[in-house]
């Protein structure tokens, strides 16, 4: 961890609000990025990130530097996203709503033809249908490029479980896309 960030964390832990603000500003984009991968729209991504920032402020005093701060931070966002998923994605009848308004987002579409874009749109739509843990694993490993070990630390599960989630997620997505 960079010395500068560690200094900021320690100051924020001791109640320095300016340093807390600094810490959040330093990490907001990173948090927002994960949130966006989850929600695929800016409005919900902002809500998730906001929730994660509140959690960060509340739980920061309990961060003991026993893990990477980034992993801890990711966990805040993933948990906020999971809560968002539970809270907002469940229709009154108890079924999960499929997000039809998914944005294909800020991807660099250079080199993508129209068919590829439609395919990508379908992928993001169907990701909403995956169980939350599978979606988390997919985002952390395939989208964000983290190792299975890092994802396991964030998701608080075994590395082999992450591998299983990804395997299942890919299988499920492929089946959905073949239909």
């Amino acid at each position: 961890m960079a010395y500068e960030q560690k200094k900021t964390i320690i100051a924020a832990q001791s109640g320095d609000k300016q340093e807390l603000e600094r810490l959040i500003r330093m990490n907001y984009t990173k948090m927002y990025r994960i949130a966006y991968q989850w929600a695929r729209n800016h409005h919900d991504a902002e809500d998730i990130t906001q929730d994660a920032c509140i959690r960060l402020a509340r739980y920061l005093p309990g961060f003991l530097f026993q893990s990477e701060f980034d992993s801890w931070l990711y966990r805040m966002v993933v948990n906020a996203a999971l809560d968002w998923h539970t809270r907002d994605k469940i229709a009154p009848n108890g079924t999960t709503e499929l997000n039809e308004e998914v944005e294909t987002g800020y991807m660099d579409w250079v080199g993508y033809n129209a068919e590829d874009r439609v395919f990508a749109h379908e992928v993001f739509r169907y990701m909403d249908k995956l169980p939350a843990n599978q979606k988390s694993a997919l985002i952390l490993v395939l989208v964000e490029g983290l190792s299975h070990k890092q994802a396991a630390e964030i998701m608080e599960c075994k590395e082999s479980t992450v591998s299983w989630y990804i395997f299942e997620a890919r299988k499920n997505l492929e089946e959905l896309l073949k239909k």
């Binding site: 609000k17 807390l20 927002y32 990025r33 966006y36 902002e46 991807m107 990508a120 992928v123 993001f124």
Partner: protein, 306 residues
């Protein structure tokens, strides 16, 4: 290229898609809320002794002290749950409280303890229940697709203010804006006080001291955008310009038409205003909803203009 390869390519591309630039106002808002979240809630239960209200005899004749011994939930546990600035109340308990707090007829010790704790904080239990009832109206409205999801926002007005809190709303706003505003009311108020577009501070959700409804509010009211709530609140409180009010009415009319409700926007707005101005009406509406079981019937009975 196989589906697998295409899938992986799309996902990896999403990760390499370049930096996203969050909106500066979203970052500022998150910072404000995070800092507010570090402030301890007002009226924290920590350190409160036997005068907290739990040990006294409830006006209804129930010996709460005796009940406390019988209950598995400790006072500190309950306090922690009620300490809404940092905790979310168990939804099942909230549901129980919604239906039973006002009448106290169930005899549920948990509910009575909640009521006792609320009263010990100077919170009007009947008022709380009334708010929760209206919240249920809002929930029902959401489920039926009516625009009634806006009701809870309106109904939250002042019922949650502790009876011994004589501050005006402006004073509470001031407290929220003070750096040392260590105030649960203020804390919750800030959750919805800042206009994301202009940064202007407005009176909105400023009455959530125990956070009892916060969870439900965010859970069920998510379909009402901040803009909708803001406009409704301004319109109701007379703080909106005629032009803005007209724009709001236009949008409200469209929403009502979408829902197929047989009311004009002016009628609905006036009805909300009526509810807003007459706290006693809340509970009455809740009871009628229980009997009628249909929000639209209740609306038809109560929310028409004279």
């Amino acid at each position: 290229m196989s589906i697998t390869d295409r899938l992986i390519k799309v996902l990896e591309q999403a990760g390499r898609g370049g930096a996203i630039e969050p909106r500066p106002e979203a970052v500022n808002r998150a910072v404000d809320l995070a800092i507010a979240a570090t402030l301890p809630p007002r009226n924290s239960f920590q350190g409160i002794g036997d005068n907290s209200g739990l040990n006294r005899r409830d006006p209804s004749g129930v010996d709460l002290k005796h009940q406390k011994k019988e209950n598995k939930m400790t006072r500190s546990g309950l306090a922690e749950q009620l300490n809404g600035a940092s905790q979310e109340l168990d939804p099942a308990l909230l549901s129980l409280a919604m239906t039973n707090v006002s009448s106290k007829r169930s005899g549920s010790a948990e509910v009575l303890k909640i009521a006792a704790e609320m009263e010990s904080r100077g919170i009007n239990v009947a008022g709380c229940c009334a708010v929760l009832t209206v919240l249920m109206l809002g929930i029902r409205a959401l489920e039926t697709g009516a625009p009634g999801n806006l009701i809870p926002i309106v109904a939250l007005d002042r019922l949650f203010l502790p009876a011994n809190d004589s501050r005006t709303r402006d004073q509470i706003v001031e407290a929220a804006l003070n750096a040392d505003g260590r105030d649960a009311l203020a804390l919750h108020m800030m959750l919805a006080m800042r206009d994301p577009e202009t940064g202007e501070i407005t009176h909105l959700v400023d009455f959530l001291p125990v956070g009892l409804v916060q969870n439900k509010l965010t859970t069920y009211d998510s379909s009402a955008s901040g803009e909708q709530m803001l406009h409704l609140c301004r319109a109701l409180t007379g703080g909106e310009s005629p032009e803005a009010k007209a724009r709001f009415l236009t949008r409200l009319a469209a929403a009502i038409e979408d829902c197929g409700l047989p009311y004009t926007a002016e009628e609905v707005l006036a009805a909300f205003t009526k509810v807003y101005l007459q706290p006693g009406l809340y509970l009455n509406l809740g009871n009628q909803l229980k009997e009628a079981g249909d929000l639209q019937v209740v609306l038809a009975q109560n929310l028409k203009l004279e």
